[in-house]
Symmetry: D2
Subunit: 304 residues, 4 copies
């Protein structure tokens, strides 16, 4: 195994290789720009069997250590007082974003480091009481509609799930792609499966502060591949082992402009890939149009 | 013009022609069943230019007569106290469903009449404090992914928008389709454009209780066409003029199992259709996975 | 009638007569300081008949022009799965503050003008995403417990309610007090009754932007009297007729440090005063302990 | 020490000694009826030094094991666009009731057992989507204003706090009262101090499922004393050790109609009592007017 990257390596991936300015100083869309009419047409051609798989968890309403701010879902019902006996139900949902159990898409404004938010903006200047003025989720309201590539780490390793002792390195992502005969293309969504369900069956609920997952060395690979989106079930290796950032891989959001879809359920997707002997499909992620929002609950769907 | 349908006609469309039992007594998906692997593959083939159009309004946070329960969107921000200067933003959204300004998909449980909810269930038995036990939005979590057909009423009429005096009748929907050389197929999403933006420019915000839109006579047409989804900017003609239901066309939800997408913005879609001289496209509507929910805010996207 | 005060008069009341620094530069309690152990003991002695009157409206859950952000009140219920058949109900309340139908106490941070918030602080520096750092409602968590004095304008005028054409002037407050043989004392709560219920019976719901009530000339009287609290059913005359502030009397909050209790129901209090031929009583206003809050829904109670 | 009460004893206290029907079959106020004009006048006479002590915790916004549904408190701020530079702040609070860290008053509808809610009503019939129709918090909107009596268990024991091994029995409450020369009177609020802060300093946050506190044997004492209100820092001994109810003492709510104030901070009250060598004072608990509510966040205040 190669030596671990140094603190300076990680800093370099965040600072020197960043995409700031690549699509203009005023760009708020980041790697979403890599999804073009051409890539969309190509991605749509991947729909061959018409099978849909949702990657969403139910909105997490039960409190617990992994769910500090449960979604509050409450009901309404009333009669119309109309001769037809017409009636109506409704509901109210209160959702606090970015929880570890809520399937969601992070907006570019969601995280930053000392160098700033996406494209170098200052979070203190851009994020206010009325929402963010920079990199809000509304920038992506046309939706991520692109080719999705599954990288199945457990299958590659012949083990049920990724462990804290052996996080996923960038070189392993490259190996998995090569072994599967996959050539990544700009604008692709990379779906990294780490075996969360199997992990939790054996170890109990994954804790936010102690998380197997992707090592910081995955960052330059994501950058080389020019992904538009990273979809993952275990997220960042935590703790990261570096001072360069408070996370292992979340930095691809503000450094490269790559979207992140957190808290997905990947087992049904993996099964369908195996069933069809495919590792590519159409991915669709349509965030709600929340002006100035820092992210959105989503229902990501893969179509085969 | 043909004589107006009678009270009995309307009752008949709701009662005799209903789809209850068509997909089994325990079916909670309704006309969503008409979307099949084959129709999905065909719909995906409509993606030829890779242009995406969102039909969503921003979540409506401003109070007003048309927005009795504004969405409350508020922000969070905190530093991580990490040497990297890492920080994070988040937000909380409180949304009460089914408002006239919030783009949303109604679940099958949303409305009913004296005969019951979809498939004849009793709303008093099925709808409880924890959500609905029948026809919840989670039933559709694989998403509506289907062919969309635009029916452009103003263009057909040569007038800027539909008026209260002259609502859209079913026969007119049939004429528009015929004039456009469109043959509807089971599982299609019908998008009926009535010119809401032009209407509101001249008349001010549309009022919930006085609404031009689709006459009850559209119901049997929706049924004949076996649509899976109805997407509309003006919704039901209100008042309906009938005692058979408290609405003109919302009955297709519980009688036929057809999904409804309310409060959409259609002008950009209409423009793109004209630009490409097309009236068909891929429609994608992915509701959030709200267990027992009566609907979901959505960001419907059309792809050309 | 005396000539109307000039623009400069109003500016003077807000700027020259303000209480900034009176209790120290770091004081965040304002005229609440005028409530002392002695005034509390005296106020408690006013309890002679043991009659309690609540001045609260129900939390306003119905939407409408006067209620742009309705309170959302929704229910929970569950069984404990215990042999005793034990069960439990709960609820969730989402309340957006300061609405015209929600009985509430404004914190000192609630309003400001070009000179700043209470004691001259800068709202841009003090009010952040996590709450206010200056003049929050938690400063008053020991509660307003003081003598209340009713000033009954309609009774004094022999008219059912105050009209837009004839707002309440400071001189009239002085006259009403004199006619009732009342000598105001520092720390008193002044309750100004304008006849809101009678007004709304004849004129429909009072509109926020067109409101009879207290003229700016009431400000120096409130200041002379050294009130700790102003409780009122009609609030500020709106529009104020002056450029000095966006309101007529709300300036007493940041200029004098006087608490304001808005959206009260005063008719039952007035009736009890008449029944007992009294115009003084114990007033109790206990804000919730909301750290950094801009106010609190309250249930003000008068005890006779 | 006396033998532990039997299962049948506990059942008897809940069933045979209950107050159902005592104030009429339609009574929804319970022991609140024991607060009379006379007791209010007497309680007000306890105000001798004018010292106020708040028993409220700050609304609990931080998530954690003891706070499954954190209060969400978020801010608003806007300029009025007025020549005076006037501006305004506001906030939104979302609070889910009855949490172990939120100071609140339980309404009579909050809990029940197989025999029913207060006065024998059926929770399935009374508690609906729009609130409770029986025993809602609005029944008490005139407020608990009554004599408060402190029973200081740690001082009596000469130990810093109550432990799980040695919960508080009814006989001990009687002994503490006797030792203090206190004669309880109908309508009194009993404040039982168990030393929560000292407990948590040594043992970490109290867990909801493992709680020292009041043993079921306190119930008949509360009943004998005819208290209107029970204010406590440790609540019910948990687990109770009985099958008769899912709690040790919460049954006084539905069996006797006694109000409960949970999650209070009592140390400042205890200190003031010691400072003044008193164990009686005026207690004021004013619930918000929530129509059909199951309880209310409150700021209880004691006045000496």
């Amino acid at each position: 195994m190669a030596p671990l990257p140094s603190e300076d390596d990680v800093r370099g991936w965040l600072a020197e290789r960043r995409n700031w300015g690549r699509w203009g100083e005023d760009d708020q869309r980041g790697a979403f720009n890599l999804i073009t009419p051409e890539t969309i047409v190509e991605a749509a051609r991947l729909v061959r069997t018409g099978v849909r798989v949702s990657l969403a968890r139910p909105l997490p309403t039960a409190p617990g250590p992994s769910n500090p701010f449960p979604v509050i879902h409450t009901m309404h019902k009333h009669d119309h007082g109309h001769p037809s006996g017409s009636g109506e139900s409704g509901d109210t949902v209160t959702a606090t974003g970015h929880g570890p159990l809520m399937t969601h898409l992070d907006a570019l404004c969601h995280v930053w480091d000392e160098h700033g938010m996406w494209n170098g903006r200052d979070p203190d200047a851009e994020i206010g009481l009325d929402g963010t003025r920079w990199g809000g989720i509304e920038q992506w309201r046309e939706g991520f509609i692109c080719r999705g590539i599954l990288l199945d780490v457990p299958r590659h390793r012949g083990e049920p799930y990724v462990t804290l002792e052996r996080p996923v390195h960038g070189s392993e992502l490259v190996s998995i792609a090569a072994a599967g005969g996959i050539e990544l293309r700009p604008g692709d969504a990379v779906v990294v499966y780490c075996g969360l369900a199997a992990y939790e069956r054996e170890n109990g609920p994954m804790r936010a502060e102690l998380r197997p997952g992707l090592h910081a060395s995955c960052m330059p690979v994501i950058r080389d591949w020019d992904c538009s989106l990273l979809v993952w079930d275990m997220q960042d290796l935590t703790p990261s082992g570096y001072d360069a950032a408070a996370w292992s891989v979340h930095g691809v959001l503000y450094a490269y402009g790559v979207g992140l879809v957190d808290a997905v359920v990947l087992e049904p997707l993996v099964e369908e890939c195996h069933r069809q002997s495919r590792n590519e499909f159409l991915v669709i992620v349509l965030p709600l149009f929340i002006q100035g929002g820092t992210g959105s609950a989503v229902n990501p769907v893969a179509v085969f």
